[in-house]
Symmetry: C2
Subunit: 538 residues, 2 copies
């Protein structure tokens, strides 16, 4: 027997129309070097419909990929909607990627146009000729002062918008691609995750629930998490769906600017990586504010940081866990009912967990090879695997071997976790080969390959070392070839042209040999143990 | 280009597993004449899996309809999940329906089994022989004392459960029917709405959002709205999905018992029809409680009632609007941001609106015949029409003419509404033919037909008159045949065997003729105007 309900598709234009029709007076604020720009969902909606017309004018294909390269801003939000609501696919480029990665992913996604903030135009423009499918570069004036070359590919966002006609949005197929985000952390080439309209709408609804972010018409939401990260953790869609006011930091990402914005604009909800909150603590401590919740993810939230916020800012940090492949929010460390009257330390320990999957996501821990389930006793560990409508099934045209799904249909996260008897997740060990610095992945394997390209290096292994500001920074462990000598300075000089500046190892240690596992692989676990007490010079 | 996300279906077993895995320690409490019974989601989950086994044991078909006839209780919640999670279809029978309606809908839905609370067994059993498809009657001991006949069709819930084995739940098709609810208010026979797994899960997620009920692990939710009303307004699914504790009133529906339960169990969220809150006000006023929100729907919430709650209980009532055909929650009168600092009266007026559609539902007002859109100026009115994944497309095997959808795919609500410039709905006039008494529909047309069956009656029209306790009560306007005489008492005596006791007109007025519209239909509008100041003897 079938249900007899309407066949209404879950498409992003329903979010758009909801905000357009019901929250026209709700503010959207974007910060910039000349102060804040004030707008509303009403103006945003009108501009977004005209941006749809711009995409037509530029001749972007019916399902063409539209790249963005910019900060968090109202214009970025216009792109977040105009692109998928006209059937095209939003591709947010991470402005912090190494140039070769950027050109790789723009070519892999076949971006036809890239919308670039003027303040980061200088990072982007040198790559444009290597991006073989990019026919247009649209510059968004955000107060940046980059010189703009005289090039027919370049046009101005506001000029295009002023000349464009508004379009109707009516996507009728929830399975269509809506947006793409590449995950650059793992070994090999960056991998593209393709979100559907359906997955995005469901992720939005999950983000709205109070066990996650709980956004409502009463909120003023400020996503500090960059909009070039997956769906800006859902806030970019959840705020319009809830009628929450939005505050965008623009390029003004310095902690003091962010803190001032929170206070001045009456921000009630914000979210970002631990590094951000670390930096902002001195500016928020003891300052009157209206914050009700601070969402934090991307890396594990140190218990001490959350406790410092509870004590000095008045609210603990809410940890959320997820990854690009999970849209990204998959679980939250919301305090369970049974611990409501527990002591502060017990609560803080609980809050430091990745926590309970959001309703809609199911999680398990298994032996990664045999898929044997592991006990939920908070001691046994296994690969964390998830399933649900906003978990990715496969990568976009992946390299051979980049398999995301198990044979029985669960998504392999690559994280190693324990789960307690309530199914609360504790990430025990991140994917062996990754280092997370300031919320961004660094591939240790790529770094190792670069180091090992030095003629005097026999082998090299890179591990993440805890860092007070960046959460983790890479430590290079280098074995010099017999009879040779090598200094830290020589290794770093060798790397300079090969990797992004922020990938540069924080230190180089020379060792006799890299410890190996029984099958001859580098044993990162042993290396991490060896350097567990390592003190970085910072 | 397609999205590359998992094909995870939106099925009710995902709600079940979420509660089972993560909220095993969260309390479920059911009240009864001998006091409260305490349980947990863990116990509930185990019992629900075994109830799935009971359905197998009873030989219920793969998509068989399973009727329920009872109060709000943990056992009813077990049925809410065991039935759809085994692929069967839950059919909640409204215990307040007139016997002929009950047998009609049980036969129309082809219920194979009915689960009956012992306290209402006496209402049900006389009908069982007329329910031609019902093979089993399972009695749930709720402290009632109805005599149970010696009949092979009757079995005991707990006995069956104790003997049953738990079953796996794995519904893979979100389009399957999950449950049915009949709407008995409109003219003609009751009409069945068939919810799908998909519509139920999406309605659940919408109910979780803070612009609706905002349930979380921090809540203790008490649905006063009967579980034989549509999905108990989503709370029956939203609480398990959120990990909110649940408190069920059982048969103890007296205002003083409900108020005591709210205080004793620390209820934070509750919902029901206006009549309930009217009755409970004296018991809640000035009493310490933990309520954060009171949801109200089914009838318009009188502004005075909401204000009395704000003043005497400390929180205003949140009005929600919807109907059986919308799962039911479709909009909420949540206060918009721009009125946060408005005066109390302005806020109260705004809260009295049906409000803004929940994200996922779209609303419009149109000329019911031409579908011409009406202005959103809060003055123009039109038929309210809605669309969205939890709005019904059609009725189940309807009588000829019972059409729910417009040609362009919107659902006709039958309500007449105005919308302001923010798209906030104000119900201007309920469907002409309906009277809502204590949250239940009375069909004026059916009543009229019954009255007009009296030999001395020329014609009769019934309209709803405001009533302080029941919101509305029927007033019968009777035209006596020329040369005849008739008394109120004779009319009521005539009706007694024909309609349910609570359908009986509150008063009978004798008039010279029923005012007619230009096309010769009864003009209820004119009649309502004529009796606008009518004072019921109550």
């Amino acid at each position: 027997m079938r249900g007899l309900m309407q066949d209404s598709p879950l498409t992003i234009d329903t979010i758009f129309r909801h905000a357009e029709q019901h929250y026209g007076d709700v503010p959207i604020v974007t910060n910039g070097p000349k102060g804040v720009t004030r707008s509303t969902y009403g103006e945003w909606a009108d501009r977004t419909r005209r941006l749809g017309g711009v995409l037509d004018t530029l001749g972007i294909s019916a399902d063409g990929r539209v790249g963005t390269f910019g900060w968090n801003s109202q214009r970025h939000l216009e792109l977040y909607f105009a692109v998928p609501c006209t059937g095209r696919v939003l591709h947010t480029l991470n402005i912090r990627l190494f140039p070769e990665q950027l050109t790789y992913i723009a070519n892999h996604a076949e971006d036809e146009v890239v919308f670039v903030d003027r303040s980061v135009f200088g990072l982007f423009w040198p790559l444009v000729d290597a991006m073989t499918t990019v026919r247009h570069v649209v510059v968004m004036e955000d107060g940046g002062d980059a010189e703009l070359p005289d090039d027919p590919r370049i046009s101005d966002y506001e000029t295009l918008l002023a000349a464009a006609s508004p379009v109707e949005f009516d996507v009728r197929d929830e399975g269509l691609a809506a947006s793409m985000c590449y995950t650059s952390g793992t070994t090999g080439n960056p991998k593209g995750v393709v979100y559907s309209h359906r997955s995005t709408v469901l992720h939005t609804m999950a983000a709205l629930s109070p066990n996650a972010f709980g956004l409502s018409v009463r909120d003023v939401a400020m996503p500090v998490v960059p909009m070039f990260h997956a769906n800006a953790w859902g806030i970019a869609q959840a705020a319009p769906a809830a009628g929450a006011a939005l505050v965008f930091p623009g390029p003004m990402m310095q902690p003091e600017n962010l803190a001032k914005l929170i206070v001045d604009e009456g921000v009630t909800f914000t979210a970002g990586v631990p590094t951000i909150w670390q930096g902002m603590l001195p500016f928020l401590a003891g300052t009157p504010h209206k914050l009700r919740e601070i969402g934090c993810g991307g890396s594990a939230v140190p218990k001490a940081l959350s406790e410092a916020y509870r004590e000095q800012v008045g609210i603990p940090i809410l940890q959320a866990w997820g990854m690009t492949e999970t849209s990204p929010v998959a679980s939250s460390g919301v305090l369970p009912r049974r611990l409501e009257d527990a002591d502060d330390d017990t609560k803080a320990t609980e809050r430091a967990r990745a926590g309970i999957p959001l309703f809609g996501v199911e999680a398990r821990i298994v032996d990664a090879d045999t898929l044997e389930p592991q006990a939920w006793d908070d001691t046994a560990t296994g690969e964390l695997q998830v399933r649900g409508p906003w978990c990715a099934k496969e990568y976009y045209n992946p390299d051979a071997g980049a398999v995301l799904s198990t044979d029985d249909g669960w998504m392999k996260t690559g994280d190693v976790a324990a789960m307690d008897s309530y199914g609360s997740i504790r990430i025990a060990d991140r994917t062996k080969d990754l280092i997370k610095s300031g919320g961004e992945w660094i591939s240790s394997v790529d770094l190792e390959n670069a180091i090992m390209s030095h003629p005097k290096v026999a082998e090299a292994a890179v591990v993440g070392i805890p860092h007070p500001k960046w959460d983790e920074r890479p430590l290079a462990c280098v074995v010099v070839k017999p009879g040779e000598t090598l200094t830290e300075e020589e290794v770093l000089q060798h790397l300079k042209p090969l990797v992004a500046k922020w990938w540069m190892p924080e230190a180089v240690e020379f060792i006799d040999e890299v410890p190996k596992t029984s099958v001859g692989k580098f044993s990162k676990k042993d290396l991490r143990a060896k350097f567990a007490e390592y003190e970085l010079k910072s």
